[in-house]
Amino acid sequence: MLDLGRLDILSLIIFVPLVGALGLLLLGPLLKLVRIEVHPERQDDLMRWGALLTALVAFALSLLLALAFDSEATGFQFVQAADWIGFFGIQYKVGVDGISLVLVLLTTLLTLISILASFGPIKTRVKEYMISFLVLELGMLGVFLALDLFLFYVFWEVVLVPMYLIIGIWGGTNRIYATIKFVIYTLVGSLLMLVAILAMAWTYSQTSGTWVGAFDYLKLVEFGFDPTLQLWAFLGFFLAFAIKVPMWPLHTWLPDAHTEAPTAGSVILAGVLLKLGGYGLIRLNLPLFPDAANDLAPLVIALSIAGMLYGAIVAIRQPDLKRLIAYSSVSHMGFVTLGIFVFNEQGVQGAVFQMVAHGLITGALFLLVGVIYERTHDRTIARMGGLGQRVPVFATLMVFFSLASAGLPGLAGFVGEFLVLLGSVAALSWIGYVAAFTVIFAAVYLLYMVQNIIMGDVTDFLKGLGSRLTDVNRIEAATLAPLVVLTVALGLFPALVLDLVALPLDQVLAVVAEAAASAADTSAGLLPWPQTRC
């Protein structure tokens, strides 16, 4: 174990991107101040490398955090708290446990990769782009590390703006529609979440007679809200998270956002942003409102399964590569919500694992689509074909990640799906069987895609591109290589993630189970196997 002493490592991680962003912002004026003439193109390069360096530092710090993290200890570590708005007892309070650590690592890694992946494709307004990305990283890290609900909300919204700009400025032709849809959709949910947060804080302060600690996650978890408030607050939070995840039928912003976003934007969107929702459900919805969670679990489960099957079926007929992957995300993220709400270890740990795996795999798939889009300026499946002959490395990677996405054992995608399905079969018996049909549809749409773009003859459209259709270049390979390695590594050694998250998730489940036990009747008798096993 590494002793980080009095180093406020979490704040360091959170604010390194901000420092980087400010640095990039001020670099131009500074250079002008010291009278150094830099060619605009060189200046763009400076921005690129500056952002990369920042992301690298953040990644390195998060690795350091992982090294210093004690996976045996319960509770939050490296907690740092300071008063922010004392009037309402609002704090700047951050802390890390296994769940957030895993997601922080995912975030810093994917941001690093995304920034690298933007080197080629982003040619205009590089500075603004890089700053947006770093601010985005700040927001995402903040969400994962915040231990004060107000702070959590603030970071939650901070995420929104840079993503809005990234899609809106560097996106495709229909980007404005997509980005506004994204923002409005997300805002509707998050604003109601704010209502719920405030209502909880008020209730807390009323009961305890003081605002101190009213927004403190740790205090609120222990508070025990009355069922009515739980129900409404649960719904407030749930709406925000369900939109972000996104759960059926609140998913339609996602295909549009993905389709229009630049490659790196899609990567981050799929890789991290969607996870904010899953993280929120685990971190907030279950521990804060265990009664409501128990009551509403059937609803969430129904929506999740609907989303899993629905997303997969819709993906089958998508004509656009990115849309296809977007719908696959809807389907895959359905696993996450399903896993969370079956309330057993396999399900919940599987959900977290699935979040990580989906982040890596879908991120890689978007990178690959980006590779092909860079060369063809097209993503229409019907215009592709025979890429296997022309760009074999690309094709290999595409097949690799498609199979990973389809849940091939030995790769990361399988473990999460398996655990979630196991959890849901355990909790729901034959309904879990129905949910598992998703894996069939997943194979259908992925293989259709592979067959259509990789196999067969080279289409006239691609032939027309001639030598412009080059294989994966060095930078692209550098972005994809870590994802390949991690996909395999996590597929073979899922304990890398599961060991970190098991302890905190057990605590969450204990809270939910306690609430369920205090409720009158359970439907355990309907299951053909002993309840203790799941």
Binding site: T252, I313, I316, A436, I440, A443, L447
Partner: protein, 668 residues
């Protein structure tokens, strides 16, 4: 809801494997690791090698030698009756769930090891010649190695989930190899079909595995066997779980209703057909059920389903094989039919026979497929038997070995196939499944017929080869003929070596410890074997029917230089409506492909389109509708703003009146 066995009985019946020594574990790791390394190395650098096959073949040969050593050790009793087991590491551990990556080496896996490694090695060698001119052969060998790794993992794994992983990996290799010539449409489609059909089956399989875990609390085979039989489980659940597992097995082994992928899989290179789609992978289902007999044994209704499906597949495939023109398709349907036999054996409780047939059929069918590859090679990639004929003189080695294979498959005594097939039929009858026996015997006759129809059309009669190709026909190179000869040896001698004495054979001794608990649970006892008596009589009947089938085939299609009566076939088929209909139906595979096409491709496509329409127009329609409606409302609201002061003033006055009225009403 009562348990099958008491805990005590369970403890006595199931004896756990011994703990493996370090050497064995290392060797097993090598057996698994060499092909995997071969795959990775060939995949990464194979393209740049002048002999891309070198790493891969070397890896397999080495693995084969080690595996053979291990297998002989096991069969020789070094590891005791129940084999050895070792856990390398825990793959997944969540809550009670512990999925351990380890192996079990007992007699069953030892036999499977031999089949898999030897056929695998021979196919590798064969492929050196067969794929010599293909520019992508590095890829081919890499995939083959991947397959070998996966298949070996499958037969060695000690945990359900690891078997499932291997199950998927062999599926993957199969997918890659069927689609090896992916630029062509047919292989691309066939590979996808194979993968998807398997996925459907695997879905049930996976849920079945989950149910096993949930009911027994373990993912380990041997632990689960005890727990399963001592736990209180509703019989309905037992059968349901067993059926789920069977569905998985049926998918991989292409049993009805999952049989459609296998014939299409012949789009892959012929060595692949030999290795994967005849000799090894398709046997995975049989192996799995054999491995889990203690599970199935306590689910008799599920076993009945296995038997029924096996029987049906055997008949169905055999009838289709009768009329096919593509040499590989005939063999493919024949494979289906023979796999049906194996499932029949599994279903009736003749598990030993199933494994015996698995081995015999594996070598035989491997030989036949490789032989067909040699034929196809000779006639320049022609697969249609109506464009062959009279080849026996030109490719004598191929012909000779092929003939051995055909005889073995047809069940002619002393060949391997005879022993195994008759064991199945015999035990089915003995165990009281006489309808199954009758159908089995009938299928044996059909087998004789279609195999010798194939022989006749391919090797005998008049040559119908393209005149341009005719002069260029030549025997295949040594790397191809060598494996044929090598495979002919077990095809001839396997039965004689391990199938004798009848009723008390070596293989029975080997497998007895594996199947004993299941037989006890199921309550099977075999009566004394009577060669001169019932058992011998059964042999006579089946051999006679097979001979009859062969005779008819020879009469119609000729042998060596005899004249073929091909026209008779046509006239027979055309004689009346019924036969014509049957002939066409057989030729069209009983229309299952068309049915599935309509059902899943067309209808499924329609459903998918429908859901997509729903997504765009209803769900997103509502979302956009809300947006549009809001905008629209905005426009309406703005219309109130007329720009005229009087309108504003009037509204204020009206507002005042209303507010005043409300206040006054509230005050009352």
């Amino acid at each position: 809801m009562s348990p099958i066995l008491s805990a005590e009985e369970g403890g006595e019946l199931f004896i756990p494997p011994q703990v493996a020594g370090e050497l064995e574990s290392l060797l097993v790791l090598l057996v698994l690791g060499l092909p995997l390394a071969g795959f990775l190395l060939t995949g990464l650098v194979g393209r740049r090698l002048s002999r891309p096959w070198i790493i891969s073949v070397a890896a397999i040969v080495a693995a084969t030698l080690i595996a053979t050593y291990l297998a002989f050790q096991a069969l020789g009793g070094t590891y005791g009756e129940h084999g050895i087991k070792h856990i390398y590491y825990t793959w997944i551990a969540v809550g009670d769930l512990r999925v351990e990556f380890g192996y079990v080496l007992d007699n069953l896996s030892a036999l499977m090891l031999i089949v898999v490694t030897w056929i695998g090695a021979l196919v590798h060698v064969y492929s050196i010649g067969y794929m010599a001119h293909d520019p992508g052969k590095w890829r081919f060998f890499a995939y083959l190695n991947l397959f070998m790794f996966s298949m070996l993992l499958l037969v060695l794994a000690s945990s359900y989930l690891v078997v499932f992983a291997a199950w998927e990996l062999v599926g993957l290799s199969s997918y890659l190899l069927i689609g090896f010539w992916y630029t062509k449409r047919a292989p691309a489609l066939a590979s996808k079909k194979a993968f998807l059909v398997n996925r459907v089956a695997d879905h049930s399989f996976l849920v079945g595995i989950m149910a096993i875990f949930l009911l027994t609390g373990t993912m380990d085979f041997f632990e689960s066997f005890i727990e399963w039989n001592v736990a209180e489980v509703d019989p309905l659940i037992r059968n349901a779980v067993a059926v789920l597992l069977f569905a998985g097995a049926a998918g991989k082994s292409a049993q009805f209703p999952f049989h459609v992928w296998l014939p299409d899989a012949m789009e892959g290179p012929t060595p692949v057909s030999a290795l994967i789609h005849a000799a090894t992978m398709v046997n995975a289902g049989v192996y799995f059920i054999a491995r889990t007999t203690p599970i199935f044994a306590s689910a008799p209704e599920a076993l009945l389903a296995v038997a029924v499906m096996g029987t049906f597949t055997a008949v169905l495939a055999a009838t289709i094989a009768l009329t096919q023109k593509d040499i590989k398709r005939v063999l493919a349907y024949s494979t289906l039919s023979q796999l049906g036999y194996m499932f029949v054996a599994l279903g009736v409780g003749a598990w030993l026979a199933a494994i015996f047939h698995l081995m015999a059929h594996g070598f035989t069918k491997g030989l036949l497929f490789l032989g067909s590859g040699s034929v196809i090679h000779a006639v320049h990639e022609e697969q249609d038997m109506t464009r062959m004929g009279a080849l026996w003189r030109k490719i004598p080695w191929t012909h000779a070995t092929f003939l051995i294979g055909a005889l073995s498959l047809a069940g002619i005594p002393l060949f391997a196939g005879f022993f195994s097939k008759d064991t199945i039929l015999d035990e089915a009858f003995v165990l009281g499944w006489w309808p199954v026996y009758l159908i089995g015997v009938l299928v044996a006759g059909l087998t004789g017929f279609y195999m010798f129809r194939l022989m006749g059309l391919t090797f005998y009669g008049k040559s119908r080869v393209d005149p341009a190709v005719e002069p260029k026909i030549h025997e295949s190179p040594a790397t191809m003929v060598g494996p044929l000869v090598a495979l002919a040896i077990p095809t001839i001698f396997l039965g004689l070596v391990i199938g004798l004495p009848l009723g008390d054979s070596t293989i029975k001794h080997w497998l007895e410890p594996v199947f004993h608990p299941g037989e006890v649970i199921l309550g099977i006892t075999f009566p004394e074997y009577e060669f001169i008596g019932l058992n011998g009589g059964l042999i006579v009947i089946s051999v006679a029917l097979a001979a009859l089938g062969i005779g008819v085939a020879i009469w119609l299609f000729g042998v060596f230089n005899t004249r073929a009566r091909l026209e008779t076939v046509d006239s027979l088929a055309r004689r009346d409506r019924v036969t014509r209909a049957l002939y066409t139906a057989s030729l069209n595979k009983w229309y299952f492909d068309d049915l599935y096409h309509v059902l899943f491709f067309r209808l499924g496509g329609l459903v998918a389109s429908g859901v997509m329409w729903f997504d765009v127009h209803v769900i997103d329609g509502v979302v956009n509708g809300v947006g549009t409606l809001t905008q629209r409302a905005g426009v309406e609201v703005r219309h109130i703003q007329t720009g005229r002061v009087q309108n504003y003033a009037l509204d204020i006055a009206v507002g005042l009146v209303v507010v005043a009225a409300v206040f006054i009403l509230l005050a009352r």
